[in-house]
């Protein structure tokens, strides 16, 4: 009889099943208007040399929260929020970014209203030295509110 000694954690099992149901479903969200002060703060924090006539190229794909965000009591113990899971059903697991692949179509300028179109394109279950984990592939298309492409972001995440 085979012993299943490397059981996948139940939360990961549940997340995997939920995510399978999300495959190729595209969600749309109006993120809001880019403000000059916000993109300049991003540039200062990243050490990006001036001048900043438009948003630093990684701005729209790096910002984790575009609205006021949850109250502190609604954050997870590690400080992360539910919205940082890119709107995917990932309660009970931790998400870590593994990198991005960006197509930079147009500069994002202050005053642009940004819309994101998010789709989970793949989810795989893997076993590593430190246990089971999921690998997610997420496609995010950032456009303006007229549908003009700004940035296309293909992103990998590890969920434990």
């Amino acid at each position: 009889m085979a012993l299943d000694i490397e059981r996948t954690p139940p939360d990961l099992d549940r997340a995997y099943e939920r995510l399978r149901g999300e495959l190729d479903v595209e969600r749309h969200e109006r993120l809001g208007v880019v403000h000059a002060r916000d993109l300049e703060r991003f540039a200062v924090a990243a050490g990006t040399p001036a001048p900043w006539s438009s948003a630093p190229p990684l701005y729209v794909s790096s910002v984790m929260g575009w609205d006021v965000g949850p109250a502190e009591g609604e954050l997870r113990p590690d400080g992360s929020g539910v919205a940082e899971t890119r709107g995917l059903p990932l309660d009970g697991v931790r998400l870590m970014g593994a990198g991005q692949d960006l197509e930079l179509h147009e500069p994002v300028r202050a005053g642009t209203a940004v819309v994101v179109h998010t789709r989970l394109t793949d989810v795989r279950r893997k076993d590593g030295r430190s246990g089971a984990f999921l690998v997610l592939e997420v496609l995010r298309r950032f456009t303006d509110d007229g549908g003009r492409p700004l940035v296309t972001c293909r992103e990998s995440f590890i969920a434990r």
């Binding site: 924090a45 050490g47 990198g99 960006l102």
Partner: protein
């Protein structure tokens, strides 16, 4: 600028500080404690507060744009997070031109650069690749 396959970019060196990491977390509305709470980072097994994934990406692309000049426009960029970095590490981005495609009619050229970011011990933190449009 004279460009050919194998041309190196100017090395780009940064030393992220705890204040800088806190400000990047604030600018991106990223409240994860591992980036500003040293006790939490230690409990997670890290030697210091972690440089954010996206900040590694910023360093890599900024290296290319600092070398290419203000007339350059980034078209495509990718990176992978391979190793951690913490506040106080000295990170150096180096890179090499791997393709040059001239468009004489458009007066532009497309330049591809392979990039790596290493810490002061020579450990790889993040490889990347950028394609930038530059004037001929």
């Amino acid at each position: 600028m004279d460009l050919a396959i194998g041309t190196p970019i100017t090395p780009y060196r940064v030393r992220p500080s705890t204040v800088g990491l806190f400000r990047f977390s604030a600018a991106t509305w990223n409240a994860h404690r591992v980036h500003y709470d040293a006790g939490h980072a230690a409990a997670e097994g890290y030697p210091g507060v972690l440089v954010q994934s996206h900040l590694h990406g910023c360093y890599l692309l900024d290296a290319v744009l600092a070398w290419a000049g203000p007339a350059a426009t980034p078209r495509r960029f990718s990176w992978q997070n391979r190793g951690i970095a913490v506040a106080g590490d000295v990170l150096t981005v180096t890179g090499t031109v791997t393709a040059v495609d001239d468009d004489p009619q458009g007066g532009r050229r497309s330049v591809t650069v392979q990039l790596t970011e290493h810490n002061q011990r020579g450990e790889l933190c993040a490889p990347g690749r950028a394609v930038v449009a530059m004037p001929l």
